[in-house]
């Protein structure tokens, strides 16, 4: 469903993303790993339309979206979460998700009736929060949430937009180690339920091997290796550059 062909992005002399060919199939969960500066976040920024590439193409369901605006991509179904959480801090957890739904359904033009009157939207928002196991916190503002719950909420908002492809930038960074699996369980179970394709940037190898169907290793802007989690981790080159193990 998502394909990139010879995708390129340079910052001055730094080749952040260099001729990357990538494919993600329907319902697949793919992780990208790599050292700092390998170009992982840049790649996600290119796919979500945050940055314009210097060359190459991005195809989504065979449509060229290389230069489409983020807005258009969202309408088409490319959603993303952020490494640094991006939430609406002054409104309730429920409203965080509900506003995304209102926007998705084109209801934000409706300016006179209270949001609560759109009960089907409210129910849907509550269902999403329940799927992500944060339904009991719907009336709090994000200030009252733990780091892990904030991450989950951030992803729940992207999820609410009915994305067909979710780009998750470090979904567990900043989350206490003991909570990481709980957070990922909530996220992955909600994603699998809907059969959404997912691209995850992650550092934690336990998470990568536990949840992904396929792993892509990036190094200096290029794809260095890819395959099933077990295979990739045994790759000598990967061991040396990513994990710093010389055997």
């Amino acid at each position: 469903m998502l394909k990139t062909e010879k995708l390129k992005k340079h910052f001055g002399f730094v080749k952040a993303v260099d001729n990357v060919d990538l494919e993600i199939k329907h319902g697949e969960i793919v992780s990208i790993i790599g050292t700092n500066g390998a170009g992982k976040t840049t790649l996600v920024n290119l796919i979500s339309g945050y940055l314009r590439p210097d060359g190459g193409r991005i195809l989504f369901f065979d449509k060229d979206i290389t230069y489409a605006s983020p807005y258009v991509r969202i309408q088409m179904g490319v959603g993303r979460s952020f490494q640094l959480i991006q939430l609406f801090g002054g409104i309730s957890v429920l409203d965080n998700v509900r506003t995304a739904l209102f926007s998705k359904y084109g209801l934000i033009k409706k300016g006179l009736w209270p949001a609560d009157r759109y009960s089907s939207v409210t129910e849907e928002a509550i269902e999403i929060l329940n799927n992500f196991n944060i339904g009991d916190k719907k009336d709090l503002t994000p200030k009252g949430l733990s780091e892990g719950d904030l991450k989950i909420l951030d992803i729940a908002i992207a999820f609410a937009l009915k994305s067909k492809l979710l780009l998750l930038d470090e979904p567990t960074s900043g989350v206490a180690t003991s909570d990481k699996f709980k957070v990922m369980d909530s996220i992955i179970s909600a994603i699998k339920k809907e059969g959404i394709s997912t691209l995850i940037i992650e550092h934690d190898m336990d998470i990568v091997s536990g949840y992904s169907d396929r792993v892509i290793v990036m190094h200096e802007g290029k794809i260095m290796a890819e395959g099933r989690p077990g295979e990739v981790m045994e790759n000598k080159e990967v061991k040396a550059t990513v994990f710093g193990i010389v055997s």
């Binding site: 969202i74 995304a100 998705k104 949001a115």
Partner: protein, 299 residues
């Protein structure tokens, strides 16, 4: 008469706070839309006296403030934060200069007189202004305030209002959930301008006289001040702020020539001690009391 002044400013505060409290834009130029409303009344009195009835004046004021806020808003919403504030201020000063300099049309610094309008065919010839204000007009004003209150309450709790709050909280993410940020800021700006324009028109009948000062940034500053005084984080805040400000200003002006000192002093106290304004303080107090009472219940 003070209460009538307060009510008109309450409508202004409601409109202003849609931008400040709900969209996160601080305008230092909202006097311009107030002036647009007030001057459309005064100009109709001067040039089209046959149309000088309130059923025509209110829609006319709304249309003029709509047009002005479309023009100014189009420029302003391209920016946020301090740039937005300064731009709004400069544009309102532009209007001030026009009202001030075009003496033959606008009456210059002398301003224009606002006679008593007719209402639904009833004329108020021979009626003195205080009687007019405390009679028919008082109820009309209460009605207008109630309508404004309900409409604004509807707007801020609607999906549209939620979208504005999302923009206020995080404009990057708002764009990424598919909200056209600039366009929605523009809508908020226009609605805000129209409410302020309505307040200006209603105020002009109370005051009986309009001057270019209404579009001066000092006057815009007063709108900001009363909103802060009441508390912009709470829907009712600006209403409370407008009432307190009206009384405070009059008593301070009546009792001392240093009334600016009183206003300045309260502003300092406000920022330091009551960052959520008077309404915020009351609501905190109320919450605290409620907690104490339930705790007492359980103990």
């Amino acid at each position: 008469m003070l209460f009538e002044y307060g009510l008109t400013f309450a409508i202004v505060g409601l409109g202003f706070n849609l931008l400040l409290g709900y969209t996160g834009l601080l305008s230092f130029g909202h006097g311009a839309y107030f002036a647009a409303g007030a001057y459309s009344v005064a100009m109709i009195a001067k040039y089209f006296p046959q149309a000088y009835s309130i059923e025509i004046l209110i829609p006319a004021a709304l249309i003029f403030s709509l047009i002005l806020s479309i023009i100014f808003g189009f420029v302003c919403v391209r920016h946020t934060r301090i740039f937005f504030s300064i731009l709004a201020l400069s544009l309102s000063m532009l209007l001030y200069a026009l009202l001030f300099k075009l003496y033959h049309i606008t009456g210059g610094s002398d301003g224009l007189r606002v006679p008593l309008p007719s209402m639904l065919g009833i004329t108020f010839k021979g009626v003195r202004r205080p009687e007019f204000l405390s009679g028919t007009y008082y109820y009309f004003l209460l009605g207008m305030f109630t309508i404004s209150f309900l409409i604004m309450k509807g707007i801020v709790s609607s999906p549209f209002g939620k979208a504005l709050q999302a923009i206020r909280d995080n404009e990057v993410r708002a764009e990424l959930i598919g909200i056209r940020v600039r366009r929605y800021r523009f809508y908020a700006f226009i609605i805000s301008g129209m409410f302020v324009g309505l307040g200006g028109a209603l105020w002009s009948f109370v005051n009986g006289h309009v001057t270019p000062d209404l579009s001066h940034w000092v006057f815009s500053g007063e709108i900001v001040y009363m909103t802060l005084l009441g508390g912009f984080g709470i829907f009712e805040g600006p209403i409370i702020g407008a009432m307190i400000f009206t009384f405070l200003k009059l008593y301070a002006m009546g009792n001392t020539q240093y009334w600016m000192f009183v206003i300045g002093g309260t502003l300092i106290i406000l920022v330091l001690l009551l960052p959520n304004g008077v309404a915020g303080a009351i609501s905190n107090l109320w919450m605290g009391l409620k907690r104490k009472m339930t705790e007492g219940f359980h103990a």
